[in-house]
């Protein structure tokens, strides 16, 4: 059985399920209460669970992530919502220097089961301070796990998995996906952080894509199929830990790989995927250089024309994939 729901509804349902099943779970963030969250994700949760468990905070990202750390250390399972992932900049100390390292620094005496949810990405005309894709930073922080759901089912499943994990997990949602509808099974299937998924099978090249670029890649793969090119699309789902075996196995099979992300190219997450492939045993199977298709190395501009041109669109993926297969 399946049903239709938006990505935002899936996140909300997963939060509701977790709060129903586990009294340690609560949600805290700016305007998550009566306002329903800047993107309506929490919506009516405060009515269902009360203002103790759905807590409106002041505009204090560092403070609220820190409070999440303190609550997690002492027996709770907080979900902290950061209104735009750009504002993680405000909270970096608590995310990186505290949450991520505490279990390690105290020699394993404590756990920090903290889930931070934050929407990233461009496409809404929100300009340079409200549109970043910052996943690469967090992937570089030992002690964190980082999740990037690309559809409603994953938004639910991965959030539940994050809440089951005793480590701090950053869930990077995508603004453009929130209102999009997806087919979703009646119950969110259980997920494992660190397992990716072959989103679409193919044999001529492997496309590894994250977040909103997954569906763009699938759409591109459909167009490529019309040109007689068979593209496999992989969604890592969690970028830390990364499902390296899944990627390598696919690349070994196809011999070509295109890496697609929305974030600027330079020192972005796909550099890690490229490097992992380049230093692996499948290096010898490559029939063409590894190719990245990423956002331009620019802050996200306001103009809709410029904004669209700044991040990979379906046509760009088609063009790059075709070139890659044509090459060598």
């Amino acid at each position: 059985m399946s049903r239709t729901m938006t990505y935002a509804e899936a996140v909300r349902e997963a939060m509701a399920t977790a709060m129903t099943n586990d009294e340690r779970v609560f949600l805290m963030g700016e305007d998550v209460g009566v306002y329903g969250g800047a993107f309506g994700v929490s919506n009516d949760l405060y009515e269902r669970f009360g203002t103790d468990r759905v807590r409106d905070t002041t505009i204090s990202e560092l403070g609220i992530v820190g409070m999440g750390v303190g609550a997690a250390l002492t027996g709770m399972r907080p979900i902290v919502e950061i209104q735009f992932s750009d504002f993680l900049c405000q909270a970096m100390d608590q995310v990186v220097n505290q949450a991520a390292k505490l279990h390690f620094m105290v020699g394993g005496q404590a756990e920090v089961p903290l889930v931070i949810r934050a929407p990233g990405g461009s496409g809404t005309g929100a300009a340079a301070q409200h549109s970043q894709s910052l996943e690469a930073w967090f992937a570089h922080v030992p002690g964190l796990k980082v999740v990037m759901p690309s559809n409603a089912t994953d938004a639910g499943s991965l959030l539940l998995a994050a809440l089951d994990d005793p480590n701090p997990v950053l869930v990077l949602e995508h603004k453009l996906l929130y209102k999009q509808s997806f087919e979703v099974p009646d119950e969110f299937p259980s997920a494992r952080l660190g397992e990716g998924r072959i989103e679409r099978e193919g044999s001529d090249l492997t496309i590894v894509a994250t977040s909103v670029e997954v569906q763009r890649s699938v759409q591109a793969a459909e167009q490529l199929a019309e040109q007689g090119i068979s593209a496999e699309v992989i969604d890592p789902r969690t970028i830390k830990p990364l499902d390296v075996p899944l990627i390598l196995q696919s690349v070994a099979r196809t011999g070509r790989v295109l890496l697609v992300q929305e974030a600027p190219k330079f020192a972005g997450f796909m550099a890690e995927v490229a490097a992992t492939i380049a230093e692996s045993e499948v290096f010898g199977d490559l029939q063409a250089p590894i190719r990245r298709l990423c956002g331009l190395d620019t802050p996200i501009p306001y103009s809709p024309t410029l904004e669209k041109a700044s991040v990979p669109q379906v046509d760009d993926i088609v063009r790059e994939a075709a070139a890659l297969v044509g090459e060598w």
Binding site: G33, Y35, A127, Q129
Partner: protein, 327 residues
């Protein structure tokens, strides 16, 4: 403060934003939108206390600050319309409009992004030995941010020529500032930084002006920062996503009845003996200006990716040389 200038400025802000709202409604503008309709008296009264060369830092709700500081309406509108002839060449939009030449150091999409920058401009004024003053607009919600606290602390420690103006419109998005901050007046917080704090009726443009003028004079005289709370209200929702569930219709209606522009018109009429015709004429002239601004904006060119990519870094005096050219 020239009263008629102030009156005109308030209408410029009001009608600029009504035009913006209309353009959004008709799908001709995109992105997000934070309107300050109802709050016009604050930037108007405050900026009238500045002289040329003085600076401001602004917020996400910054059209009023921008206009009050003297921004060109056409280039502002063009920016919101994402055109190359806009202040930011279509790169910034509403949340990043700046007019650096006239001392408007910019709106800011980050709540409390401005206060440290304002304190830094004030430090620069001091170090450069000028008598410039920087005026820092921020919301009540911004007071929750660490950045605000650090800026207040440093500005007070160094006695910098900066005036913090808290536009207390009762809410930071949906959070009531009364519930959030356990003080009677936001200005009570100033004492914790050892600086003067004052609360004024933010819908009374003359009251705002007087308080800010005093604070600016203090700053110019080297006596350090002041914190001013201006009580006002935003008539519209926080942004387009706002369903106004956190406040009552009655509250909104009550504040709308206290229209800062109408109130000032009454003062001008009753005290200054300005005729209704004169007042109407201002409004009409501004309406024409705004129409002209929209025309200027809609006639602007689309920005190009090439120019954008060339605009990420300011040109360096020296660039890396090609390999062949190195010693």
């Amino acid at each position: 403060m020239d009263a008629m200038d102030a009156y005109r400025t308030m209408w410029r802000i009001r009608l600029f934003e009504e035009a913006v709202e209309d353009l959004y409604g008709r799908g001709m503008m995109h992105g997000t939108m934070h309107l300050s309709i109802g709050q016009e008296a604050v930037p108007t009264g405050a900026c009238a206390a500045l002289k040329d060369g003085d600076q401001i830092t602004s917020t996400h709700r910054g059209h009023g600050h921008c206009i009050a500081k003297g921004a060109d309406l056409g280039r502002s509108m063009a920016e919101l319309l994402a055109r190359d002839n806009g202040y930011c060449r279509g790169r910034g939009g509403s949340m990043h409009i700046a007019d650096v030449a006239t001392g408007n150091l910019g709106a800011n999409g980050i709540v409390a992004g401005g206060p440290p920058i304002a304190a830094g401009a004030a430090l620069s004024n001091k170090l450069r030995g000028t008598d410039q003053v920087c005026l820092c607009f921020h919301g009540d919600g911004a007071v929750g941010e660490g950045a605000w606290h650090e800026a207040m602390t440093l500005a007070s420690m160094w006695n910098l020529p900066v005036v913090f103006i808290c536009e207390n419109n009762k809410y930071g998005m949906s959070m009531s500032s009364e519930k959030a901050f356990k003080v009677e007046h936001m200005s009570d917080k100033a004492a914790g930084y050892g600086i003067p704090g004052e609360t004024v009726d933010g819908n009374d443009v003359e009251a705002v002006h007087e308080a800010v003028a005093r604070a600016v004079a203090r700053a110019r005289a080297g006596e350090g920062p002041t914190f001013i709370e201006a009580l006002t209200y935003r008539w519209r929702g926080h942004s387009k996503s706002d369903k106004n569930l956190y406040r009552t219709k009655e509250e909104i209606a009550q504040w709308r009845a206290d229209d800062p522009i109408a109130a000032f018109a009454a003062v001008l009429h009753d005290r200054e003996e300005v005729t209704q015709e004169q007042l109407n004429a201002v409004q009409d002239e501004v309406r024409t200006e705004i129409r002209e601004a929209v025309r200027f904006g809609t006639q602007g060119e689309e920005p190009t990716v090439e120019a954008m990519m060339a605009g990420i870094y300011a040109p360096s005096p020296v660039d890396p040389r090609p390999l062949e050219a190195r010693a």
